[in-house]
């Protein structure tokens, strides 16, 4: 890419530097950037706990930290990563930035609510972070009762209250997206002309709006039980701890789809742009998002095969869990079919996209192992589970998040990053990830349980491999931090469309003006019309 003749636009959304212009902004793009800073902070905080976990597990003996400290480490790692990074990351950063632009709107439907959701997120996340200082949390990110309500001596209430508060931020984001997509589309932007990124965020928003309140009320009951001894989940007082698990997973299984659906939306955009073809079977991919959202609400029982639910319930949940594989597979096959005979270019975002497709496939297929009742009983609470969900959450969501960040970075900042460093770090992330988590499949299958700080000697080789992979992965995450920050000042300027991609976001300047579009666009084309609308690389 060359910066010959490319100048920054005279006015754009970053032109104004005052603190108040940021803190009181109603511009969805600025809110997105502040979210980017916030989720990045919590990603590295959660990552720091992971570093300590992997250090402890290099040796079989529990010699680095005590068992109690280890419990707190994996709990805080899970809580930080799930609630404060994976769930908000793609929707609040990329979704916030792109959804209004992609549908030709000037902003989200409720800009003030959008800013409020950021502050609510920060307050909630700070509240949970405060719990680390005041005794930590050792319940696991799942808060299972009666341990969380009766036994744990750690800061359960501040942690739960923080997650409760953050839930409102999630609900408001989802609500804002739903209303925006329904009511703010530009003339001609029909539902089936929308980019698949928007479709998948629509499906995600449905889950946020329908699932999050159930988690909120459940955590409220846990807090009430701890404070007032209500006994709703305490068998000693007539309550039922399994009911807690039902309510918890009613949200927390769909929450996995809150993490992965936006990632799938990103991948659809990347595959189309870097293969220069329309996404194969657009309608199927769009409806597959909705199907995943709906089916996702019907499978929570597969987390509870060994929790004492009836064998008939387990069979039904097993069958429904297999069903989720159908729309997921539709997406994977359609991306592959899009690549077939495409004009593929291997820029950094595409490397992440290819990585996503491979890792998501492994994560998805091992999900089928776990949906089968008989096999699940064997590997329940082993490292097999840990490996499986990290393939979805890290190999899926974070790969797509990084791919999307690299793809839209020139749009967000107006500048481009060092491509060589970016490719090297993408490769490090891919190989580091596999080295970290593939051995954990083997460990789990051999019977190593999760959540222990010590283990028998025979598991050491695989654990050392895993820790070595984790250090590679950690460096792979740090390098983009450096060159992306560097590019903000020194990166080459790019024009409005450095990738030669279609989509409304590439028709406006980089960085975009505050109002996005000087005139509301009138859309007369489908998404991904690469055959007829390609303008060619600027380079």
């Amino acid at each position: 890419m060359s910066s010959r003749g490319v100048l920054l636009p005279a006015h754009h959304y970053l032109s104004d530097f005052g603190a108040a212009s940021w803190l009181l902004t109603r511009d969805h793009k600025r809110v997105a950037l502040m979210y980017l800073a916030a989720v990045t902070f919590f990603f590295f905080l959660g990552g720091a706990f992971a570093v300590l976990i992997r250090l402890e597990l290099i040796t079989p003996a529990g010699d680095l930290v005590s068992a109690d400290t280890y419990n707190k480490l994996f709990t805080m790692h899970g809580v930080m990563m799930v609630f404060f990074f994976l769930i908000p990351a793609i929707p609040t950063v990329l979704g916030n930035f792109l959804i209004p632009i992609m549908i030709g709107a000037k902003d989200l439907a409720f800009p003030k609510l959008n800013l409020a959701s950021l502050y609510i997120y920060v307050i909630g996340a700070s509240c949970t972070t405060y719990a680390i200082i005041t005794g930590g949390l050792d319940t696991g990110w799942t808060f299972y009762t009666p341990f969380s309500t009766a036994s744990s001596t750690t800061a359960v209430i501040p942690a739960a209250v923080g997650i409760f508060i953050t839930g409102f931020s999630s609900i408001l984001t989802g609500l804002n997206f739903i209303v925006t997509i329904h009511r703010m589309r530009a003339p001609g932007m029909t539902w089936f002309r929308m980019p698949l990124f928007v479709w998948s965020h629509y499906a995600t928003s449905l889950i946020m709006v329908l699932g999050t309140p159930v988690l909120a009320i459940t955590l409220l009951m846990v807090a009430a039980e701890r404070l007032f001894r209500f006994g709703l989940f305490d068998p000693a007082l007539g309550g039922d701890p399994v009911l807690f698990q039902h309510l918890f997973w009613f949200y927390s299984h769909p929450a996995v789809y809150i993490m992965v659906l936006p990632a799938m939306g990103v991948i659809s955009e990347l595959v189309a742009a870097f293969c220069r073809k329309p996404v194969f079977g657009y309608t199927f991919v769009a409806f597959a998002s909705l199907a995943i959202a709906v089916l996702g609400f019907l499978v929570w029982g597969h987390h509870m095969y060994v929790a004492g639910q009836s064998v008939y319930a387990a069979l039904v949940f097993s069958f429904l869990s297999f069903m989720v594989a159908v729309p997921s597979a539709i997406k994977v096959f359609n991306w592959t079919a899009t690549m077939y005979r495409g004009s593929i270019s291997w820029d950094t975002p595409m490397l992440y996209a290819i990585g996503f497709i491979g890792l998501f496939t492994v994560g998805g297929l091992t999900g089928l192992f776990l949906a089968a009742v008989g096999l699940d009983v064997h590997v329940t609470d082993t490292y097999f589970i840990v490996a499986h969900f990290h393939y979805i959450m890290v190999g899926g969501t974070i790969m797509a998040y990084l791919g999307g960040l690299h793809y839209w970075w020139p749009k967000m900042s107006g500048r481009t990053y060092n491509e060589l460093l970016a490719r090297v770090s993408a490769a490090m992330v891919f190989f580091g990830f596999n080295l970290t988590f593939f051995p954990q499949f083997l460990l789990g299958y051999l019977g190593m349980p999760r959540r222990y700080h010590a283990y028998p000697d025979e598991f050491q080789v695989l654990n050392v491999l895993s820790s070595a992979g984790a250090s590679l992965l950690g460096v792979g995450y740090l390098i983009p931090m450096v060159y992306l920050a560097w590019s903000l000042r020194y990166g080459k300027l790019v024009g409005s469309n450095p990738w030669g991609a279609v989509g409304l976001e590439w028709t406006i300047s980089s960085p975009p003006p505050t109002e996005n579009f000087a005139e509301t666009p009138i859309v007369t084309w489908d998404a991904y019309e690469y055959a007829t609308r390609v303008e060619g690389h600027v380079a």
């Binding site: 709107a105 000037k106 902003d107 989200l108 439907a109 409720f110 800009p111 609900i171 609500l175 804002n176 739903i178 209303v179 925006t180 329904h182 009511r183 703010m184 709006v209 329908l210 699932g211 999050t212 309140p213 159930v214 909120a216 009320i217 459940t218 409220l220 009951m221 009430a224 007032f228 001894r229 209500f230 006994g231 709703l232 007082l237 007539g238 309550g239 039922d240 009911l243 309510l247 109002e515 509301t520």
Partner: protein, 217 residues
């Protein structure tokens, strides 16, 4: 907005016209109410499970609730829904004084409901029916009656909290009616406040029979 046509002062910069703005606000409130349904839904599900497991204890504990005060409160709340609907209608037909009268009556009825609820809570305190170490109940049903009363306090408490938030919204709407923000062209804030208020009433319409009317034929 074409040149020469003045912006309505209430029109936000990112909407094309007031119709689009009103549709967005209304849909937003409906989506929020869906969220609320799921929020209370978690509690209703919990209630359903324990009610079906311990029907006798729940019926027994239910008889300790004050059916007279509960019935009065139901009537008070339904009446407040009527005055709220009338306030919305008055706003749509641009009769500012009537909006005022009906909003104030809605608030008065809401406050009455909360007052009566407070009296009921105080009676429960006197009768040692607050779950916890001072809880007293006949030994046979002790545990499960305590579950019932826990649910009673969480569900009605959360409902009361929604009423208090509703009173805050009404105060806000009174201020907007007073300073002329609400006009015949822009009255969607009153409409969506009404949606919220009716929702809170409907929650009570479910709570009342589930909590007060168990086993009464």
């Amino acid at each position: 907005m074409p040149d020469g046509v003045a912006h309505h002062p209430a029109l936000a910069h990112h909407f094309e016209d007031l119709d689009q703005q009103r549709e967005a606000a209304t849909l937003g409130m409906w989506v929020f109410l869906v969220t609320e349904v799921l929020f209370f839904g978690g509690l209703f599900a919990t209630y359903l499970v324990y009610r079906s497991w311990y029907p006798e204890a729940f019926a027994e504990a239910s008889h300790h609730l004050d059916i007279v005060l509960g019935t009065i409160n139901t009537i008070v709340l339904i009446t407040s829904s009527l005055t709220m609907a009338l306030a919305v209608h008055a706003a749509q037909t641009n009769r500012r004084q009537l909006v005022f009268v009906f909003l104030v009556s809605t608030m008065a009825l809401g406050a009455t409901f909360l007052g009566i609820k407070g009296v009921e809570y105080f009676h429960k305190f006197e009768e040692q029916l607050i779950p916890g170490s001072n809880f007293e109940f006949e030994a046979q049903y002790f545990q499960h009656a305590q579950l019932f009363l826990s649910l009673y306090f969480v569900m009605t408490g959360l409902h009361a909290l929604h009423m208090i938030i509703g009173l805050g919204i009404m105060t806000w709407m009174l201020a907007w009616t007073w300073n002329g923000t609400i006009t015949d062209a822009y009255h969607s804030p009153i409409e969506i406040s009404g949606l919220y208020w009716h929702f809170v009433d409907i929650v009570w319409i479910f709570l009342f029979p589930l909590l007060y009317l168990i086993g009464r034929h």
